[in-house]
Amino acid sequence: MTLVVFLMLHLSGGDPALALAGDNASEEVLAVIRQRLGLDRPLQVRYLAWVGGIVRGDLGTSLIDGRPVLPTIARALPATLLLMAGAMVVSLGIGLPAGILSALNRHSAIDHASRLFALAGVSIPGFWLGLILILLLAYRWPILPLAGYGTLRHLVLPSLTLGTAMAALLMRLTRASLLEVLREDYMRTAYAKGLARGRAVFKHALRNGMLPIVTAIGLEIGILLGGTVIVESIFSWPGIGRLAYVRMLQRDAPMVMGNLLIYGMIFGVVNLLTDLSYAFLDPRIRYE
């Protein structure tokens, strides 16, 4: 993973010294900068130096402000995690109930409305949804702040923007998964032994239908992560997404590499948690 990040940014051309000194800097100035950044060393040496740093928790220093990369990212991380938590609340809060109601009342008005929502949700580009929400809820009827960070009210629009697509995916999946489970023999048994419908659904169907949903939540967090870049830059949210975006525009290679690494690591941790949650949800799965 470190190799991919490193090679991608280093073989992709673009001279950091040039980016730093400006386009019309003299050759001598460039040479000095290259030496100071260690750019005159061969690629493999630089790679090993970088990986060696990672092991010690040192992701290098920014080319732009000279500050160490890791603390800068660490400062921005809570805002992003908060935003993702908000988006999860939105997507679970809309997606799960809509999917469950939809599956239990197949071909009803609720079902049709939910499926329409699901189709729209996966088709609408996130950044556009954000702008339309701003247009309607911050300009036209100014009930929510248009950008910024701090209060719960600031969290609403970004969370809605980020969470809607995921709510749509979750709804689709919950519906499909539940429909499958509802056809199972043990559901008929549950009804036959006289369980009330609600109890049967919650005790038997949901528990068994959760597994694919949890997998999807794990995978979709990757998409949420990607979405944070856009949502954070629309709403001036001070998280790692906006940090990554701003530094990309400035071609701050160490900062961008550090950011990509952190994104990859968050994704890895989420995957691990997803795998572990299987054992919790399905007692048949055990990890040695």
Binding site: A120, S123, G222, V229, L260
Partner: protein
């Protein structure tokens, strides 16, 4: 293929797999709606030079932010440019990037997935390890970093989107190939002495094609949305070339003055993606009737 064989008494005649698929698709109203959306948007984009009501680049400051009217059905933007005409030209880029990306992803993912699934062993390990590594980076951030470092442009955009874009298809085809490899007809072919190449091309590939067709239809939405997002962030298509995401990007700071320059490109992106989603879902159901 277009002629659906149905007996005069309304009884289906015996027919090939392909016409059965087409027949099932025709009955699917949502898939048909999706197909029509795609046709309309494709035609509008292809015929833009002939059919666009105005020059998409012509600036008329006097017409700045003209609301939708007969002369400008979707209004004009900050520079007085006709939004409908710009949308038609922008569609060419979106569809081109979508098609190019899906084709390259197919050219990479299909053979890699086939090889990994059919051969297994070390080949499988290497290919899948690479895919696992690439998949941890969010597509959009990965593409953004590439674009920002490499520079922006159409070619760079397609490279950035295919860099990890082949991985989902490779995984899908791999699992298909794994399953097909164990089927009786493949074992029979091996028993009568067919070579690996023949088995892959004659048996495994055709049976993985449904998966590919569905992937290509649903998968084209990813580059279309990613292009829009990248162009919106200024890391995609640059003026004077026109793209839908870029149109939104240019107007986002003036949303209060005029809602139409931001709204309509988004509606068109959403419609395009919706069309491919509807058709893709329909195709999946039609190709695999067991699912319904």
């Amino acid at each position: 293929m277009s002629d659906v064989a149905v007996g005069s008494l309304g009884l289906p005649r015996v027919r090939g797999f392909r016409s059965a698929v087409v027949a099932r698709l025709r009955r699917d109203r949502l898939a048909f709606a999706g197909f029509m959306i795609i046709v309309v948007i494709t035609l509008a984009s292809l015929l833009a030079p002939l059919a666009a009501p105005h020059d998409p680049l012509e600036m008329r400051p006097a017409d700045r932010y003209a609301p939708p009217s007969r002369a400008h059905p979707l209004g004009t933007d900050f520079f007085g440019r006709d939004i409908l005409s710009r949308l038609m030209y922008g569609g060419r880029i979106s569809l081109l990037i979508g098609l190019a990306t899906v084709s390259i992803n197919g050219a990479l993912g299909l053979p890699l997935g086939l090889l990994a699934g059919y051969l297994g062993g070390r080949v499988d390990t290497v290919i899948m390890r690479l895919a696992d590594t690439l998949i941890v980076f969010p597509t959009l951030i990965f593409a953004m970093a590439l674009m920002a470092m490499r520079g922006v442009g159409l070619l760079e955009l397609v490279i950035a989107l295919t860099f990890k874009g082949w991985t989902p298809l490779a995984r899908l085809v791999r699992s298909e190939a794994l399953a097909i490899r164990e089927r009786e007809f493949v074992q029979a072919a091996r028993a009568i002495g067919a070579s690996h190449g023949r088995i892959i091309f004659r048996h495994v590939l055709p049976n993985s094609l449904s998966a590919f067709v569905v992937y290509a239809t649903l998968g084209i939405t990813t580059p279309i949305l990613a292009e829009a997002a990248l162009s919106f962030l200024g890391l995609g298509i640059q003026p004077p070339a026109i793209s839908w995401g870029q149109m939104i990007s240019q107007e986002r700071n003036y949303m209060q003055l005029a809602w139409w320059p931001v709204t309509f490109p988004g509606v068109v992106i959403a419609l395009t993606v919706l069309g491919f989603n509807l058709l893709g879902d329909g195709l999946r159901d039609a190709l695999d009737p067991r699912l319904k």
